[in-house]
Amino acid sequence: MEFTEPALEYAEIWPLIVVFGVACLGILAEAFLPRGRRHVVQVALAAVGLLVALVGTVLVGTNLDTVADGEARGLIGGAGSVVVDGPTVFIWALVLVASLMGVALFAERRLEAGVSAFSGQAAALPGSDAERKAQGLDHTEVYPLLMFAVGGMLLFPASGDLLTMFVALEVLSLPLYLLSGLARRRRLLSQEAALKYFLLGAFSSGFFLYGMALVYGYAGSMDLGAIDAAVRNDSANSVMLRIGLGLLLVGLLFKVGAVPFQAWTPDVYQGAPTAVTAFMSAGTKIAAFGALLRLLYVGFGADRWSWQPVMWVIAILTMLIGAVLAVVQTDVKRMLAYSAVAHTGFLLTGVLGVQASGELAEGQVTSLQAVMFYLATYSFATIGAFAIVSLVRDSSGEATAFDRWAGLGKRSPLVAGAFAFFLLSMAGIPLTAGFVGKWAVFTVAMSAGAWPVVVVAIASSIFAVYFYVRHIRLMFFDVPEADAEVASVTAPSLLTSGTIAVGVLGTLVLGLVPGPLLQLAADAGQFIR
């Protein structure tokens, strides 16, 4: 048997290589450096690695070749495993920016008096002597783990075949399972979050895998392009195809937290260390939506009519249940988690607004473009909001209960103001990024004829406004009870405050002049089949 050496497109998959390489370097650093130096080195490695990858992404993005009559740009690399096209590059950039903000939050050490928010010794039992002795330590392994997760997030939306998608899904998930369980405070909750996330994640990836097997059985290949060809040509065995598609969808919808696969979201978001929550709420969502878009548009675009109705129902349920359950929450992190569920619904509204290029008016916003833009707006707001949650503390660490937040606006107007701004953006008030994002996804869904979904979307955005505004009122107008303990803002280092500033700036700029980013998303073009 003749073996032909595969030719890898190193220039195009460069960001991937950098991220994985830096992660491995981080492991080596962890092994050989003395404890005192590890933190600085690891943070520097991760930040520099992500920056280099980001620069690489930009360079790759500017140099992509045009293919398919100018509708798309890019190439299929890695012998078919990786598709580096416009949308991939756009999503890579988003993931890398979100990860940079995540690294900054990970590295914050001023809030816990000189140590990070991660457990000093995860193996030590909570409340034991060993744990107390490890008070002053940090787990610096979190940075390589974060980098591996980022690598998975980069690979996930770029997958050229289902197997890559599955492996990438696991690469991004495993580190997150671990990171969720490493909180320094409230460790029982943190470990419980890790267990729940892990068991449910493994369960749902089992479904994804079975779907992959069935689709492979249908198409005889796991390439998305080959699946697309099979879907177009073959009409037999459609039952198996649909079951396979459904199971694949389950795996992805679980990752994005769509109803009825959302149950893990609030528990994990609440239990995980807040920096991890911030990172994964943005990063996972971006990557998983990228993969969902690719799977649905590339692999099953020709079979659009079969999955659109299901997505209608899921989008409607997700928006309604996310918003309704957020109304009754009394914990900030849980409220943000349910609002993340509602945002998934809005994003799905954009996803189901897909139309064939022939049906689109000239220059109309495509659903791909709308969803990618929404992801950008959502990421800035959610990372910023969780970063602020990590600042608001009382004697026992982060104070996430609502009553602790009463009157925060009077004690720290700037922080409360920034939080209110993020909430307003999530609520979709004009002049914030969230408004333009909502406008974009609603418009594409509307033009695809999904007006019932849009009506529900607007209705649930009213519930959403209700709880966002209620929280703003809580911060600015409510007076805490006389003898109740209230939270105050701990001054962070430049890392967290910088992250918040970037979030505010991004939200503001994308609200005032969203044009350039929308144009960028438009220039990204279509997926390569």
């Binding site: 459609s238 079951i243 696969f261 149950a263 916003v365 004009p430 406008w439 009506v455 505004v469």
Partner: protein, 646 residues
């Protein structure tokens, strides 16, 4: 300039020229918004450092905007009729592919009138607030919010596209929320603020859907583009858009069925009620309908809906005005009713647009005047709002009394006062165009006469019924000065109609109405209206002015007993024929307002709460239950995929 003519009238096309070309003062258009916005930003970010001079800065920016608006008005008057629409492109807001949404401003004969009203009345209210809020420790914040409101309201009327309008729309909603809830220590104020916000969001559904439909239909939200292509869209589409816009307008302008928030909004400081809930924000709905004339002209069914909603509201509000003992709530009911008149006129199409705006402006003058007057009374009465505790104040508060009286005469339509001209034209047009609604409007005018006279009599005449320890006194001159100015405007507002000026002025925006044949001379309509109003006033005089007013609301039985016992024969008739049914109707409407409409919203909120409480039980913390929900989801997704594709 005009798109097409059909049935004798035309739909104008917005055809602006750019501010740079227009030259003169027009390139400074953006400053009109920027000034108060700057004020708000400085005051909010400046914090306590600005406490000492914050109110002065706030007032100065509002006055600055007013001066600029006046210059714009003068400049515009000096231009040709066709060149009076001027746009200014600030930056590309959303610019991608085929969508070009600029952050564009448009000043034309319609928006300049609003500019004058908002900045003019706004400046006066800023001045008044300096005195009114003097003892409030958070006065600086109040001025910041007021400035924010003015900026947002100006954005609303100056925007060149619906997205910009929506930006202002949400902005005034936010500012109004902040201001209603300004006295946050009162739970009622916080609840009222929340209610206003939530109900307004219902209206916003209409607004957002309408904007989405504009994009889908026209690929743009710009007035210029839509007005030029309005005739191309189907009537069904236009009707849908028209109804959605009406829903938005009803939310903002407190029209039935979204009116419930306005009465509660009176929890805010009185200058807020005067500025937001009388003169400016609540009229945004009228602005929206008039501005969208090209939509409504293409959608007759939507126009009819506007007329129906308006008529119901004008009666509803008037009857509520009769029932309230709280002076601000009585005035709020009256506001609702007067906006009903404006909407009615706007719904009458090209015949009515100009009158809608005309009444909007005169109403802005006299209602702001009366609200500030009410604030002045409250100021003197230790913030008591119950009219049953007033009485005989005319001697002690002469300036307030006189200015309030001017407003009173204007609102009931006393001949030659501003309200006479504006309301008279609306009733006349309605009677000619659709007699049924015209007669309703006429009845409304009579009821207006009744309840305003009642307010007047209970407050300034009769016995003094003050509570212990209350020493009424006239307000300081910083508060009475705006009253005097507004009173003068209430009296003289009618000059806008001198020679049909306002009608001609608005022609470039709303089109020119063909002359309609009046069955009688106009003076006959005026006489009828005045006569009906006189009846209302007389009834009020008989039922309120001639009898002592108990300082607590009389219960049903005692009222009837007393009426039977010591009243004149005529009074008894009037009681049985007018007052009792009237009271029953009033009670019915008020309770409907309380239970039905309120219930719908609070009920909706508690439904969501209950639903949430039920659903969250499913989140029971057991990972196996979550797995079960996933498996159930799998089964449902698979079944749905298979069923859909059978």
């Amino acid at each position: 300039m005009f798109l097409y003519t059909e049935g004798g009238h035309s739909i104008p096309v917005v055809d602006p020229i750019s501010a740079a070309d227009a030259g003169g003062v027009f390139p400074l258009l953006w400053l009109v918004i920027a000034l108060p916005l700057l004020g708000a930003v400085v005051l909010l970010l400046g914090g306590r450092r600005t406490d000492a001079w914050g109110h002065l800065l706030g007032t100065a920016t509002a006055v600055g905007s007013f001066v600029l608006s006046t210059l714009l008005l003068i400049a515009m008057m000096g231009r040709e009729e066709g060149d009076r629409s001027v746009t200014q492109h600030l930056w590309d807001w959303v610019s991608v592919g085929g969508y070009e949404i600029g952050m564009d401003l448009l000043v034309d004969p319609l928006s300049i009138l609003f500019l004058m009203l908002i900045t003019g009345v706004g400046s006066l209210i800023h001045v008044y607030s300096i005195g009114y809020m003097e003892h409030d420790p958070r006065r600086r914040r109040f001025f910041a919010y007021l400035n924010l409101f003015v900026a947002a309201m100006l954005m609303l009327v100056l925007a060149e596209n619906y997205l910009g309008v929506f930006l202002g729309w949400e902005g005034v909603g936010l500012a109004s929320y902040l201001l209603i809830g300004f006295w946050q220590h009162k739970p009622s104020a916080a609840a009222a603020a929340k209610k206003a916000f939530v109900i307004n969001r219902v209206g916003d559904i209409g607004m957002s859907l309408a904007i989405a439909m504009f994009f889908v239909t026209f690929g743009s939200a710009s007035f210029t583009v839509i007005s030029a292509n309005a005739s191309g869209a189907g009537e069904g589409t236009m009707t849908a858009i028209g109804l959605l816009l009406l829903l938005g307008a009803a939310g903002k302008s407190a029209q039935v069925p979204l009116q419930a928030w306005l009465l509660d909004a009176m929890e805010g400081p009185t200058p807020v009620s005067a500025l937001i809930h009388a003169a400016t924000m609540v009229t945004a709905g009228v602005y929206l309908v008039v501005r969208s004339n090209f939509v409504f002209e293409a959608a007759p069914a939507a126009q009819t809906a506007v007329v129906v909603v308006a008529t119901v509201t004008l009666l509803w509000g008037a009857v509520i005005g009769c029932a309230k003992d709280d002076i601000k709530k009585a005035l709020a009911g009256s506001t609702m009713s007067q906006i009903g008149y404006m909407m009615l006129a706007a719904g009458l199409g090209v015949y009515g647009y100009a009158y809608a705006i005309f009444h909007l402006i005169t109403h802005g003058f006299f209602k702001a005047n009366m609200f500030l007057g009410a604030g002045s009374v409250m100021h003197g009465m230790n913030d008591d709002v119950d009219m049953r505790h007033y009485g005989a104040l005319r001697k002690l508060m002469p300036v307030t009394f006189l200015t309030f009286a001017m407003g009173y005469l204007a609102i009931i339509g006393f001949p030659l006062f501003s309200g006479f001209w504006s309301k008279d034209k609306i009733i006349e047009t309605a009677l000619v165009e659709s007699p049924v609604f015209g007669i309703c409007a006429l009845i409304g005018a009579g009821v207006t006469g009744f309840y305003m006279t009642r307010v007047m009599l209970m407050t300034f005449f009769g016995e003094k019924r003050w509570q212990d320890g209350v020493h009424p006194h006239e307000s300081p001159s910083v508060m009475t000065f705006p009253l005097i100015v507004l009173a003068a405007l209430s009296v003289l507002g009618g000059v806008l109609y001198l020679g049909g000026w306002i009608k001609d002025w608005l022609v470039p925006v709303v089109g020119k109405a063909p002359e309609h044949e009046l069955p009688f001379p106009a003076i006959v309509f005026s006489l009828i209206t005045v006569a009906v109003v006189a009846v209302g006033v007389a009834i009020a005089w008989l039922s309120v002015g001639r009898r002592p007013i108990p300082s607590t609301a009389p219960t049903d039985v005692s009222f009837v007993t007393r009426a039977a016992r010591n009243d004149l024969y005529g009074d008894a008739i009037h009681d049985t024929l007018v007052v009792e049914p009237g009271k029953a109707l009033t009670r019915g409407l008020v309770s409907a307002d309380r239970s039905l409409v309120d219930g719908l919203f609070t009920g909706g909120a508690s439904l969501v709460q209950g639903l949430g409480q039920g659903l969250r039980r499913a989140q029971n913390g057991f990972v196996r239950s979550y797995a079960l929900s996933i498996l159930a989801g799998v089964v449902i997704v698979l079944a749905a995929l298979l069923v859909v594709n059978l």
